[in-house]
Symmetry: C2
């Protein structure tokens, strides 16, 4: 007997049906290129068919709604890059191309939310802080790997691990997030980015 126990979902299950409705409404509204900033709460309410007070019962404010959205969209976005950092890089620059290709594809899949989070992070301190904290584990990983590589003499001593890790990460964030990279150019971009990343790390290796 499938004990579905339907009505138990009354605001208990970690994410009520109504909350879900709001999230997908926002996605729908962002789809036509509307900026998150220029999207009034009122529009979201209409689209989701809920009352203002209900909205603010579920989300403390508009920013938190966006963060919730980002949390879901970026769950495994760094995975393939992290894996590369942990590897021994024996396949050289070539090994980086598929990593970048994956990143480009994944960013495209979540482009609406990523665009919005980057947009709001640019001026809202709360969202900015969230976004950086989301980025930090990745930054930490690449920094520590650069330090190891440097200690092992595998890369040039002029590499500044902390700064270099950030330059690389934010470059990818910026460039991969460029609006309107036509899919047919993915390969070229992945190659160009892989080359840049590789040279920033190994370009002046002994």
């Amino acid at each position: 007997m499938p004990s579905v126990t339907r009505s138990v979902a009354r605001h208990k299950g970690r994410s009520s049906e109504l909350e879900q409705r709001v999230l997908s409404s926002v996605l729908r509204l962002l789809a036509d290129g509307t900026r998150y900033t220029e999207l009034p709460v009122q529009r979201i309410l209409e689209e989701a068919g809920i009352a203002r007070s209900t909205f603010y019962h579920y989300f403390p404010d508009k920013a938190q709604l966006l963060i919730k959205l980002a949390e879901l969209a970026t769950a495994d976005i760094w995975q393939s890059a992290e894996q590369w950092w942990r590897s021994d890089h024996s396949d050289g620059e070539t090994g980086l191309v598929p990593v970048l290709l994956t990143a480009i594809t994944q960013v495209r899949e979540n482009r609406l939310v990523l665009r919005a989070i980057r947009e709001v992070a640019a001026y809202d301190r709360t969202v900015a802080e969230y976004w950086i904290s989301r980025m930090t584990p990745y930054l930490e990983l690449s920094r520590s790997r650069l330090e190891e590589l440097r200690a092992a003499g595998k890369i040039g001593e002029w590499v500044d691990p902390a700064r270099t890790a950030q330059i690389m990460a934010w470059t990818m964030e910026r460039v991969v997030g460029l609006h309107h990279i036509p899919p047919e150019d993915d390969e070229r971009w992945a190659t160009a980015l892989a080359r840049s990343a590789w040279l920033i790390i190994y370009g002046d290796a002994p």
Copy 2:
């Protein structure tokens, strides 16, 4: 008789003294890390010591004020960046590195405005359009120089001029736009950026 003809500057000279006062007031207000978005016109008025109506007489809106600011800041940047791209890349690293460092210094000196323009361009279509149009000629210059260098065999044949130009430009834009870079680390950042830029161009030169 020194015919100073003072009052001729009465709103005729391309940039009245008062307009200048507004511009520098904004810079002063941005200096402590305040986002342009969270800077009320009221604060600008107080800082510049002018009336609201006067402000709107000089600037159609807050966005145009920012654009004006960016116009001036980027003029300096483009100049030193162009100097970098046009300088003779044949006599090796010694003559070139100082020029690169100068260009990066120029970018960093204008970081307040760059941050602001980047911030607002993220959500305001007018500013976004301006920013892209401002960036395009520069991207074009970089691209064509990379092409020449490649044709002349001075840089690696794996360089993709169009994409590499963009990667370099957006990297600078992104990294300079980061908030919370402790001032005491400035030097390290400049060095790390210069190294990255250099390697992206010359890292795999023949």
